[in-house]
Symmetry: none
DNA sequence: CATGAATGAGGTTTCATTCAT
DNA sequence: CATGAATGAAACCTCATTCAT
């Protein structure tokens, strides 16, 4: 939707170079400061070519975070788990899966994760503004659905206001999660990106412990009141 | 620290014009897109003057969010409450005060709040990067202090990992709070800024209910396990 | 001359699509701003194909106004009338026929007329410059021939300087005519093109009256002095 | 109105260099093809400076033709003659003065005249489109005023339709005049600009004869019918 | 004969900052 | 202390045309 067919048809190697360059640039600079000039130079293609592949700068970014990042991240959260959670209304179960996936995705692809997070920063670009609003709306809808289902099934406190819980959860599993993760590693996402060799990646066990910690707080916070 | 003495000595009226113009600009555009040219034009001063008052663009922004915004926001959170909470280790009590203050501050000064939130967006400017890191570190330290004190006093679950809880709380009382607030009003912060007349401000009662809602989740989530 | 044989041999439907797209583009934009990219996109052909049909941008334009527009316009001015006027030296009779044809052609094909008028605007393209010069020279020659014949036959004032009268007539029956016509309709050619539905086309009677008005001025102005 | 005060305050010598460069460029290329890059290079100023003097490209052009050219041309048509013609309703007398001024202006400043004529060519720029429409409207109003006054005073045929006569006269004293003049000199305006040394300027006597020739046609064409 | 990816020069404009007055 | 003209790098994007397939 965001990339032209020209881009889809590119030889894998060239396509990869462009993707890599874009991730690098949008990962390192806010959207407004990211430079298409630098991207094409790093990718070794001409300025004109980039505009054969993408309508404009915002279309490139859109593709990167909405299609590419989404697809890569999708590999970390199984569709099965999502489906099961939907059926059973198991919000918390789903959150655990989603958070774990998010953590590992961020550790495996920190620059891409950083680039995607920038969507929330807002920008002068109208297109980006719309993307942000839509992303927020969609996230909120999904969360609200889960919350309401969970309440109906008696797994969440029925007195909780879904309008309040859904953004809380969206944050808890998105930006806040990344922040906490980095605090846990003793750095920040930007610091991690600048000198990745300096920090040791969380082990699987640490990841589990970390996710359990957050989950425990959410579970207790959202559970129905004991009779 | 960020502003030169020339700026401090300015006639109140002129100073106010500059502050107002800066809030407007940094509230409406990401840091990189914010234009000093537009600010001086809106403030009715010369470009040279601006550089007499502030070293450069980032110094102006630094002053705006670290000195001005902090001072304005300080009026919404009484020092007394902060002190009492420190003494009693009453993290939750403090959070309630802080959140309420944050909500009202955001409603009273939405553009300034938006400008300040942009600090977290990261930027190409190194100075700003340092500011962001420092802001995060400081926030975390304060929170950690509270958490550890609360645990020692038996008011928080001693098994909670402070490294995990502090960023969670920082988010819950910062960006997440603003998001949730805006969802509650049916908009987003940017939407609210673009068309302020379109949305009705939360009433005092609504604010209380909103804060109570968040607090209840935190209280239950962080409380010591029942024996 | 301007189009390659490949273009002439094209299936009618495809050829029509290209012509239509070119008229649209050259009618809407000055030559320099007109975009071959947009034309091929609108026509649904490949860029390479366009260069199989026409040497380059200026050849396409050349064909459009010198071959296509000339042919279409020719349908509005009968060859018979032209021949008769030539034989009888009836400049004024010919002008009446030519003006009426020009008016109806412009009303029937306003975009094509606009595209053709652009030739007179001059351009950075050398080829176009030559076209313009040649067009002017040819028009002037025809007019001069008529004027001199008319003078010899006693239908025009013999004191008139043909070098002066011929460009006057060329304008009166070309750009000036179109302008006057549009003033009569209460708009301009560009305004008419932008919102064609907004203006009501001149009726046949109005066209006749309009042409008669211009002719009357020319007749009196160019007639031999009464003895 | 079109130029910023920055430009008005410039040292005469620098200002002249810029004006000269702009005339050269807009005289030699259609508006869309004219390049601000070439102008600043020729004028020996920086790109940024040009944008301190003028809002943008169209503002520069606007100033050049609406303020500068108008002022220069004004020197060739005395305000006194204009005023007198207004009082006496002497359209033809005014036209003679205006045409003579136009001819000499064009001979003295052919590139500036060419640049100004380009306004009528239409362009992709919206601002320019508005300029053109306004210019046409204004010219037509002035002409119509003259025509109606001339008719009331019995100097023009009362049966003439002002809506038809005014664009005719506007052309006759504008683009058509320049064309005819150049035909008289055996060239075209563009040919004259490219190789000015090749053509000999009309003498004063020739100019008078030329203007008389056009005037005679108009006089007879517009005069009231003899009783 | 058709295709459409590739090109890179060039377009206009904005920017933060300096410094002579 | 105030001014605002000057700067030139950099921004995003479009263009007509070519040529290998």
């Amino acid at each position: 939707m965001a990339a032209k067919t020209t881009f889809e048809n590119l030889p894998e190697e060239k396509r990869a170079r462009i993707v890599e360059a874009a991730i690098e640039e949008f990962g390192a600079h806010p959207y407004a400061s990211a430079s298409t000039n630098r991207i094409v130079k790093a990718a070794g293609i001409s300025k004109g070519s980039m505009y054969q592949y993408f309508e404009n700068k915002s279309a490139l970014y859109r593709w990167l975070v909405w299609e590419h990042a989404a697809q890569v991240k999708g590999r970390y959260v199984s569709a099965k788990a999502y489906g099961e959670a939907m059926e059973t209304g198991d919000l918390l179960g789903f959150l655990r899966v989603a958070m774990r996936g998010g953590v590992v995705f961020t550790l495996d692809h920190p620059r891409l994760a950083r680039a995607a997070l920038r969507l929330m920063e807002g920008s002068a670009d109208e297109e980006l503004g719309r993307m942000k609003e839509e992303h927020l709306r969609m996230g909120e809808q999904v969360m609200r659905m889960f919350v309401e289902k969970g309440q109906r099934m008696g797994k969440l406190d029925p007195d909780l206001d879904p309008e309040l819980v859904s953004p809380l959860i969206a944050h808890a599993t998105g930006p806040m999660l990344v922040d906490a993760m980095m605090v846990k590693m003793g750095t920040t996402l930007d610091g991690y990106l600048n000198r990745p060799e300096e920090w040791t990646r969380m082990t699987e066990a640490e990841i589990d412990g970390f996710v359990d910690g957050v989950m425990m707080i959410l579970e207790r916070g959202l559970a129905p009141k004991p009779a």
